[in-house]
Symmetry: C2
Subunit: 364 residues, 2 copies
C-alpha cells in the first residue's frame, strides 16, 4: 500500500484485463468490483453506509456496484462472497487486523482532510522489536517521532502511548487511524506540541479476537500492563529522547484499548498524568473492582492528573456504559472531560478524538 491512492486506471496488460476495485469517481461515487463467476451472491458492507448491498453480475461473472455520492472520509468495507466476508482482493489497502477481512477506501474532499498526507514536514514511524522474557516472544512496537526529531538532537519530547482496539494490531493506528499524518498536520499548524507516539501490540496473550479492556479478561490487562510499564516504557525511554516523568507521559486508546487505558492509567497516575479513553470498552459491574481503590483519594488523583478525557459517540453500542462511567466518576469526585459526540464505534470518530486530545496533551 502506498499513499498514491489515485484511483487505478483501467488498463490492459498483454491479454489480461485487471479488475479495478475500488474506483473512486470525481462525483464521490465509488464502484466496487469482484470477479467471481461461480458465486451465487456477492455483496458489500461498508461502514456508515450500508450493512449489506448486493452487487450485480455481468455475463462474464464480474460483479459490481456503485455507491454514493459519499461524504469525504476513509471508509472500511468488506466484500461478502456467498456468505464469506473478505477484504477486497484488488485493493492494496487492507486494514491490519488479527482477522483481516476489511479494506479501506478514501473518498477525498476538495481540501485535504486532517488525516491526509500533505506536503508539509513529516515525522517518521519506526518499527522496533523488543524481547519479552515473561512471554518468551519478540514483540513489535511502532514509534512515531515528530518532524523536527532528527534536526533537534538535544531536544526531549513527551510521549503518548496509543493503544488499538480488539482485533486491531500495532499497525492500525497508522494504517487506518493515520495518527502520524494527524500529528504532522497539527504540529505544522502549531496546534499540538511535538510529541512521540508509541503504538504497541495491546495483547499479552496470543489468543486473538478476545476482548481485552475488561475485567472479563483481566489476566490480559495485568500482563499487558507489565509489558507496557516494565518493557515498553523503558525501551522507549532508552532508545528515544523522552521526558522521563509522569508529566511527559500520556496514555490513550480506543475500544478494548480504551478499557486498557483506563485500567492501566488510573492505576498508575504516578506514571501517566494524561489519560484518554475513546469509546472505552468497560463494564459497569467492574468500575469499582478495576478503579475503586486507585480513585479512593479523589484529591490526590485530581492533583496528579492533568487530563482525564472520555469520548464516545451517541450511536456507539458502548455509549450507555460510557455514560454510566461518567456518572460514576462524577460521584467519586474525579475531575474529567466528557466528549460526547455524534457517530458510532469507528475510526471516523477515533481520528477526530485523537486530533482533539493531541491539542490538549502536554499543554500547561
Amino acid at each position: 500500500m502506498t499513499l498514491q491512492q489515485t484511483p487505478h486506471p483501467t488498463h490492459r496488460s498483454r491479454d489480461r484485463q485487471y479488475v479495478i476495485s475500488p474506483e473512486v469517481h470525481i462525483d464521490r461515487t465509488a464502484t466496487f468490483r469482484c470477479q467471481a463467476p461461480q458465486a451465487q451472491e456477492v455483496g458489500i458492507c461498508i461502514g456508515r453506509v450500508t450493512e449489506f448491498a448486493p452487487m450485480y453480475k455481468d455475463r462474464a461473472g464480474n460483479w459490481q456496484i456503485t455507491l454514493g455520492p459519499l461524504e469525504p472520509d476513509l471508509y472500511e468495507y468488506s466484500l461478502v462472497t456467498d456468505g464469506v466476508r473478505i477484504a477486497d482482493p484488488n485493493n492494496p489497502w487492507v486494514k491490519p487486523s488479527e482477522r483481516p477481512s476489511t479494506s479501506i477506501v478514501d473518498i477525498p474532499a476538495d481540501q485535504p482532510a486532517l488525516y491526509d498526507a500533505q506536503n508539509i514536514p513529516h515525522g517518521a514511524v519506526s518499527t522496533r522489536v523488543y524481547w519479552s522474557d515473561a512471554l518468551g516472544v519478540l514483540r513489535r512496537v511502532l514509534v512515531y517521532t515528530p518532524p523536527d526529531y532528527d534536526c533537534e538532537p538535544d531536544r526531549t519530547y513527551p510521549a503518548l502511548y496509543l493503544l488499538h482496539g480488539t482485533s486491531d494490531t500495532e499497525e492500525s493506528w497508522i494504517s487506518v487511524g493515520r495518527a502520524n499524518f494527524i500529528l504532522d498536520a497539527l504540529i505544522d499548524a502549531g496546534k499540538a506540541r511535538p510529541m512521540i507516539v508509541v503504538m504497541p501490540y495491546g495483547r499479552a496473550y496470543p489468543a486473538t479476537s478476545r476482548e481485552s479492556g475488561s475485567l472479563g479478561y483481566v489476566e490480559n490487562m495485568r500482563r499487558f500492563q507489565s509489558d507496557l510499564l516494565e518493557l515498553i516504557v523503558p525501551y522507549v525511554e532508552t532508545h528515544f529522547r523522552t521526558q522521563e516523568s509522569r508529566q511527559g507521559r500520556a496514555i490513550a486508546g480506543l475500544s478494548g484499548g480504551g478499557g486498557e487505558t483506563l485500567y492501566i492509567g488510573l492505576n498508575n497516575v504516578d506514571s501517566f498524568a494524561w489519560i484518554c479513553g475513546f469509546s472505552s470498552a468497560v463494564r459497569e459491574n467492574e468500575f469499582e473492582q478495576n478503579y475503586g481503590a486507585a480513585l479512593a483519594d479523589a484529591d490526590r488523583v485530581n492533583e496528579a492528573l492533568n487530563l482525564l478525557w472520555l469520548g464516545c459517540g451517541g450511536e456507539d453500542h458502548l455509549y450507555p456504559v460510557n455514560l454510566k462511567l461518567l456518572d460514576w466518576l462524577k460521584a467519586k469526585g474525579i475531575h474529567h472531560v466528557a466528549h460526547l459526540s455524534a457517530g458510532g464505534h469507528d475510526y471516523h470518530n477515533w481520528r477526530a478524538y485523537l486530533a482533539e486530545i493531541a491539542q490538549r496533551l502536554f499543554v500547561g
Copy 2:
C-alpha cells in the same frame, strides 16, 4: 500482525468459536480452515507444495485440510472459494501486495532460521514519506538501520537500495522477505557489514500489476530511475548517516525489481559500485537497447563495479533468459558472479540470495 506467530489456540469467547487458520502442528503439518457454508468448492494453493488441493467440508460448512509435514520455511498460500483467490481471512499475516490475495504461514525449524526474529540486537525499520514533484504525490520509503545505528552517532554506513517485485510493495521485503532479521542475524554473527537498507515503492506510475523491469515498460523504469536518483537517494543521504559515494551504494532487486536494478545500476555505475539481480525480469531482445551503450567500454565498467551478481533458480520461468543474459555479459567481457541455484521464482530463494549478497557487499 505481530511476531508472536504462535499457533492460535482454539478458544471460545462468549457464544462464538473463532476459526483458527492456519494451525501449525508440532509434526510440521498445518491445518487450514475456512468457514463458507454456501460455497460449492474451497481449496488451497500453497507455494512449493500444491497448485490446488481441495478442502473438505463438515456439516456446519467449515472447510479444512491438513497438509504436510512441510519443510521448515515461510510459505505463501491463497484460499480459493468458488474460484475466487483470497487471503486467508483468519490469518493476520497478509502478504503486502497491490492485489492482496496471499497469506503467509511459518513452519518453524528446531533451530532459528536466518529469517527468524531472534533474541539478538535488532535494527529499526523507519517508514518515511517524501514528496514527488514530478508525480504530484507523497510516496513511502522504508529504511532499515542496523542495531548499532543509534549508539554510534558519529559513524556513517553504506546503503543498499533493495527493490521489490511486480505487484509487491515497499513493505514486501520486510513482511515476507524478512530483510531486517536477515541483516540483524548476519551483522550479529559478524558476517555482514552494518548497512542501511532502503526499500522504496518501485513503481513510478499508479497502474498496478504491470511488469516493471523491462523495456516494455521503459517509461516506468525511466521515471522510477528519476525518483530513485533525484529524490530517494538525496532524501536518504540527507536524513541518514550514509557514505555519499558509489563505493557506499549498492542496488539489488527481485524479478521486476531485478530488471529495474540492472537498468538503473548498469546505466549508473558512477552511482552504484555493487549491483545484484535476483531472478531478474529481463528480455533478450532488450539487452542491447537497455545496457549496450552503458557497457560498451568493458574495462571502464569492470574497473567501476565491485560486484555484479546475478542469481536465478533452475525452476524459475526466468531461468532461460537469465542464462542468456549471463552469456551476453560474458561476450561483452563484463565481469560478474553467476549464482545458479535450485528452486523457483519465490522468496525462498530471494531470502537466501539476500543473505548471500549481504556478506559480499561493502567488503574489500
